[in-house]
């Protein structure tokens, strides 16, 4: 198959904005494509060489592209840059220069076939190690030399990631349905095959070679990521419960990275939400999955969350960004450990669980994992009333989650790969009360540390003062902001204030490892104030059954030795701060 056929088709597609016409051009292209080439044609049409989850860097930077064009046309890089500034498109630029080349060749080349183009691009993409830039340069320049100006335009756009034909995945599926599936009705099974394999090329090959029957027999494949199921969003628990027929399974929506883990014969591969292979970023997670998933073959979905290794507290999503790296993975792994919260099971022991309702998947999931410190199922609760849902939501937010995902437990609650639907409903906060000022809080309890903090305290339980009742009400657990000196100093300092059980003037629903007489005041800055079902500060003042809590607290380093416990920030002040700073959150 000659590459010019593809270039002609792309040109036609570019000339229209109508989806129907685009689809028709693709149908024509697919019909003249031999079965053994159809997957490659599909990848190229998307400006790619492989499905997204294949971990090969296809694209080249503009700088190298300019060198390629220079080598192929004999023009100086300055000329090319000048022209590029005018056209703004490397494709147009190369097409122009190819029609007036400054370098002749010894022989005319044979016309380009799709196979040659694909193989050369593939070789260039896979070139690695020393001298790989020269090799890429020579392979790509060689390819352009053999191309017509029009072909060169599309080739350079593909390698620079600029082939923007405007063809959606669904348009390709439509075209395949018409060309090989017997008509547009074949789109649904094709779409499912795509959603569970994330590989349009593979789907194209199957429908071309085996027809619709092959597509219908298609099942989840270990190693091919499944396109994630997505959730709709509603603003109130009433609406959510109504939508889910009065009952659902609520799960914490952690503020982390959504990861799909494939365990195959004991080895583990990780895919990001965008289906990129991120296995190398998380060597710690690989080991955890090997250990905690008790079956040999499985696909699970989990949320990776950054944790404070000393306190076990969850950290915000931004902390995870330290793990997005190619180099220094080991150091990042030590400094920024993650906890894994598994929330779904898509495949286990040769069975495709995407076709099972959620309760079945969840039950099996609980069955195949060994819970541990760093690997657990996402916290869940079966709920059938607004109050429970609300309380569970506050608990989630307070420990650092974004909110809840409420999941249907009906018979038809299958895993809808790649689809956003009402089987899952997000419940996120609409308001947020950001803290801009520090508060002075009383130390009334502490938790034993672990890891590096073994022998000292991992976190302190802090309280605000309720003047009316003369009691101290808990408002946060703080384990961040302490220097090594602080960690050494605090246990000594607190020793004389220790009491065997909760002090009578302390009002707490939480159990601390160690209790103190309210004496010592510390300055703390948090990220925001949230409603909380477990902290007693200003209980019932905003909402019945809820207190207020400070999210992501950090010790500023100031010991307020000048203040007595009664001089600490009061529950009324915290309520006022909550109200004053309440802002509607932007949609995200």
């Amino acid at each position: 198959m000659e590459f010019s056929l593809i270039a002609d088709c792309y040109e036609k597609i570019e000339s229209t904005t109508k989806r129907l016409e685009m689809t028709q051009y693709l149908v024509e292209l697919f019909k003249i494509t031999p079965a053994e080439m159809v997957d490659k044609v599909v990848y190229l049409t998307q400006g790619k060489l492989y499905p997204d989850f294949v971990d090969v860097q296809t694209g080249i930077a503009e700088k190298l592209a300019i060198q390629v064009v220079g080598k192929a046309t004999g023009r100086s890089e300055r000329d090319i840059r000048g022209e590029l500034a005018k056209t703004g498109d490397i494709g147009e630029t190369v097409q122009g220069f190819m029609t007036r080349k400054a370098q002749s060749t010894l022989f005319d080349g044979a016309s380009l076939t799709v196979k040659t183009v694909y193989d050369q691009l593939d070789k260039a993409a896979r070139a690695a190690g020393s001298g790989s830039m020269e090799r890429k340069l020579s392979l790509l320049a060689g390819l352009l030399t053999s191309a017509s100006p029009k072909e060169a335009k599309y080739i350079i756009r593909i390698v620079t990631g600029n082939l923007r034909l405007g063809i959606a995945d669904m348009t390709v599926l439509d075209a395949l349905a018409i060309a090989y599936g017997g008509g547009k009705e074949a789109r649904a099974p094709l779409e499912r095959a795509y959603n569970i394999s994330s590989d349009l090329g593979r789907v194209a090959k199957i429908v071309t070679e085996q027809g619709l029957g092959g597509v219908q027999r298609f099942r989840v494949i270990l190693g091919n990521p499944i396109r994630p199921m997505l959730a709709e969003r509603l603003g109130s628990p009433e609406e959510i419960l109504e939508k889910l027929n009065g009952k659902c399974m609520a799960e914490f929506k952690y503020d982390g990275e959504r990861v799909q883990a494939h365990k195959k014969n004991g080895g583990v591969t990780l895919f990001s939400r965008r289906l990129e292979n991120i296995t190398t970023q998380y060597p710690d997670a690989i080991e955890l999955f090997k250990e905690h998933i008790r079956v040999k073959n499985a696909i699970v979905e989990a949320e990776f969350v950054a944790v404070d290794e000393n306190t076990g507290e969850l950290k915000p999503f931004q902390e995870l960004m330290h793990r997005r790296r190619k180099y220094g993975v080991k150091e990042a792994m030590k400094k920024h450990p993650v906890s894994i919260f598994i929330f779904d099971l898509l495949y286990a022991d040769k069975r495709d669980y995407t076709l099972e309702p959620y309760p079945v998947r969840h039950e099996k999931l609980k069955h195949i994992i060994t819970q541990g410190d760093r690997v657990t199922t996402a916290e869940f609760l079966a709920v059938d009333n607004v109050a429970d849902l609300e309380r569970f939501f506050e608990k989630a937010v307070e420990i650092g989650c974004e909110g809840l995902i409420c999941k249907s437990i009906a018979q038809d609650s299958l895993y809808q790969a790649g689809a956003r639907g009402w089987m899952w409903i997000k419940y996120k906060r609409e308001y947020k009360s950001e803290m801009s000022d520090t508060v002075d809080l009383v130390v009334i309890g502490a938790y034993h540390g672990r890891g590096k903090r073994a022998g000292t305290y991992g976190a302190l339980l802090l309280a605000a003062y309720n003047r009316d009742d003369g009691v101290f009400e808990t408002v946060t657990k703080c384990g961040t902001g302490f220097t090594d000196e602080d960690l050494e100093r605090i246990p000594k300092m607190m020793k004389k204030h220790r009491v065997p059980q909760k002090h009578p003037r302390v009002h707490s629903m939480l159990d601390a490892d160690v209790w103190f007489k309210p004496e010592v005041v510390l300055e703390v800055l948090g990220s925001e104030i949230t409603l909380s079902p477990i902290h007693t500060c200003a209980m019932n003042s905003i909402r019945e059954g809820s207190g207020l809590a400070i999210r992501f607290p950090r010790f500023t380093g100031n010991y307020r030795l000048d203040k007595s416990a009664e001089d600490s920030t009061s529950n009324e002040e915290i309520t006022k701060m909550y109200r004053n700073q309440l802002k509607k959150m932007s949609e995200s």
Partner: protein, 251 residues
């Protein structure tokens, strides 16, 4: 069975180097008489034509003609590890598609590398009627080319009855280099009619740099706006010839 032995490791390395500037994967024809290769760079701008008779080697054994394709840059990595006076033995076992490289000096090491699918089609030789033949010292030609490179990325090579002129014009600077007949650099010049053609210096410089390691004398042949042919005279009947396509004058 193919097996050769050479006591001059540097010579072998330099010869492969001259091929490596144009091709990455090289298909050699191995015959009972010689090793031969003809290949173009991927852009089809330059060609190398290379012949190595068995007399160059200290031992040479090749039972029947065969093709061998190897990754030249990988092979060079190994050969760069050799010292000048070391002995190199290359052998190809028909049962085992690997090239074995034995290097013997103060100690012995044996590498092996995979052979690749050989390229089946033969590269033809360009058919050109040359109008000018110039014989230069390789070094003299190299110096002239390197002068030109100071000011431009291409050079026009021109000949009349008396001299060879290299004209380089850059954006700001220019250079004219003359090699007169009978000078130390230009050993001979035969011109049927005046001829000129322009060539990319990035190719020329690489070619001359690599070839000058094994060659003292070069013969240039060219005609108006046609490819140039450069024969780098090799020791013991070896042959190293390059063809380079001209640039097209634009604007």
């Amino acid at each position: 069975m193919f097996k050769v032995k050479i006591t001059d490791a540097k010579l072998l390395r330099d010869m492969f180097q001259a091929i490596a500037i144009l091709v990455d994967e090289a298909t050699f024809n191995l015959t009972p008489e010689l090793i031969q290769l003809r290949a173009m760079d991927p852009s089809r701008v330059a060609m190398v034509d290379f012949q190595w008779p068995k007399t160059i080697f200290d031992e040479y054994q090749c039972d029947q003609p065969q093709k061998m394709c190897i990754n030249i840059s990988e092979l060079l990595k190994l050969l760069r590890r050799t010292a000048k006076e070391e002995t190199i033995e290359l052998s190809l076992n028909p049962e085992n598609p690997r090239l074995q490289i034995g290097i013997t000096g103060k100690y012995t090491r044996t590498f092996h590398m995979p052979t690749l699918e050989p390229q089946e089609e033969e590269t033809p030789t360009p058919k050109i009627t040359f109008k000018t033949t110039a014989k230069t010292t390789t070094d003299g030609f190299r110096q002239a080319i390197e002068d030109a490179q100071l000011v431009s990325d291409h050079v026009r090579i021109e000949a009349d009855a008396e001299k060879l002129t290299l004209q380089a014009t850059g954006d700001l600077m220019g250079a004219t280099i003359e090699l007169k007949k009978g000078s130390d650099a230009l050993l001979d010049l035969q011109t049927q009619e005046p001829a000129k053609a322009t060539f990319s210096l990035s190719y020329l410089v690489e070619i001359i740099k690599a070839a000058s390691a094994t060659s003292e004398i070069a013969t240039l042949q060219f005609a108006n706006d046609m490819p140039i042919r450069i024969d780098f005279h090799q020791p013991k009947e070896g042959k190293l010839t390059f063809y380079l396509a001209p640039r097209i004058e634009v604007e």
